[in-house]
Symmetry: C2
Subunit: 292 residues, 2 copies
């Protein structure tokens, strides 16, 4: 990576003090989605544009239609969203903020639907899996997979026939006028998704203390060890480390690293440069703070 | 972990020389699934029982209905299947073999359906995502999500109305009597899934050279570094390393490690014991060989 030092120094110096409110923000999905919740947590009053898929979000930013985009990067149950990492690399965009959204599923029905009438439950595949124990109370109900939880809520709200329920967020139920049967129905109560806010230009805001890197290491014993050693010796805590087989290779790996350090620490850019020197390729994805 | 040395030594000494053929093998899904392909690669003539979900596979082994089970542990695009790791830990089962299955999607229709008639494409959500570029040739066709690719093929085969296509394996298309329109339609040609063969008892077969561990490390700087150092100094190659936030904790992580070493190496059990000593908790998931 060329001029990484200059690039980071400039961004720390020249970025605005606050994320610009009132910008257009691109989200994937439908109104009422968890992405929308993430956008509302990061921006005070975002004007959100929804896109069908992740590529739509990237393309909206590329074309200047939106300045920022909100994307899920990792779920505590389902793991990392590799497609987002691939798109980040392809577009060379940056992470400027992140936020953790608790995934709190609710059982939602059209007003008047009784528990004993429920014969079909609509939701995203992962949401259905996350509520398996709760759904044992409805052994006869068919589970029907939708592309996302908000789409499931919309479908149930617009359906004429009775007996349908959706699993989605409470807010999403309110949006589509559905009645709340039960809330907090997921088997595991600490299910959350990390969303990132991305931008075309590198922006590093005051208080940034988390940095994300993607790296391909030389295919030899000890190369990962050497990288970890840099972080350990600097006293930087790794908050994420993940190996992923590289497409079209047999034994090469891509690594995702997240580490904690204030961007103002004297050795901050030194460590990144040294890690860069140990890698075959490295992508600096940005430094940012995370809302919890 | 108690008596890990004795447990591994006994298994190396006492395990049969070959995986027992003719045992009942539990798979998740439907006939024609990629799990079935994995079972056929590992066993010569398996009698396969299909279960609706992953828990069904574990429960079939627990009850003695099946001696082995076949499960997807990681996909080169979608990453690790965390649910399987959780179930392995809960049931204290072991990995006795693994196999890599290339995921080769085909476009399948009922005989007589013409390309220009296709208005609906059925498949698993991930398979639809993996064929996004190919599906650009069918801009008007609706994509409909099914619980797995084999279920999609079955649905199309049993449908009376025309205009439906399924994305699934070629073998699956043949099983359900569907016509092959195009094969190898995934965007990325090196998409594979690793399947593991699990068993209730620890069995370590001759030639085993890959070991899987799950570990919770002490929450202090350098604890991961210390573990990696053990592998690096022994000259053992790490083929997988992944951090995952622990449910119900804020800053604790579970790590998945896979490393390469013959089980006959003199220091093999020493290294595992030393790593165990560095962890708050460690689960030894087994040593096995992988079919490629």
């Amino acid at each position: 990576m060329e001029n990484i030092r200059m690039h980071i120094e400039e961004a720390i110096e020249n970025s605005p003090r606050l994320l610009e409110d009132g910008s257009n923000v691109a989200c994937q999905g439908t109104e009422g989605s968890y992405s929308q919740e993430a956008a509302n947590r990061i921006f005070r009053n975002p004007s959100i544009l929804f896109f069908k898929n992740f590529e739509g979000v990237f393309s909206a930013i590329e074309k200047g239609l939106c300045r920022y985009g909100i994307l899920p990067i990792e779920n505590s149950t389902a793991g990392s969203v590799n497609q987002i990492y691939d798109l980040m690399k392809e577009h060379r965009f940056y992470i400027v903020r992140s936020v953790r959204v608790k995934i709190d599923h609710s059982m939602l029905v059209k007003s008047g639907t009784r528990r004993e009438d429920i014969s079909e439950v609509y939701s995203h595949e992962q949401a259905l899996a996350q509520c398996e124990k709760y759904l044992d109370h409805y052994p006869g109900a068919e589970r029907i997979i939708c592309s996302n939880t908000a789409a499931a809520a919309k479908l149930v709200a617009e359906s004429d026939s009775g007996g349908k329920a959706a699993i989605a967020s409470r807010e999403c139920g309110a949006l589509y006028g559905l009645e709340l049967l039960d809330r907090n129905i997921q088997d595991n109560d600490s299910n959350y998704t990390r969303f990132i806010c991305i931008s075309k230009e590198l922006e590093i805001y005051p208080g940034s203390d988390r940095t994300s890197l993607m790296a391909v290491l030389p295919h030899k014993a000890g190369s990962l060890y050497a990288v970890i050693k840099e972080f350990a010796e600097a006293g930087y805590n790794l908050t994420k480390l993940e190996s992923r087989p590289l497409p079209n290779t047999e034994f090469e790996f891509m690594f995702y690293f997240d580490f904690e350090s204030s961007v103002y620490r004297e050795d901050f850019i030194d460590v990144i440069e040294r890690v860069d020197g140990l890698c075959d390729r490295m992508e600096y994805l940005g430094s940012y703070s995370e809302k919890i």
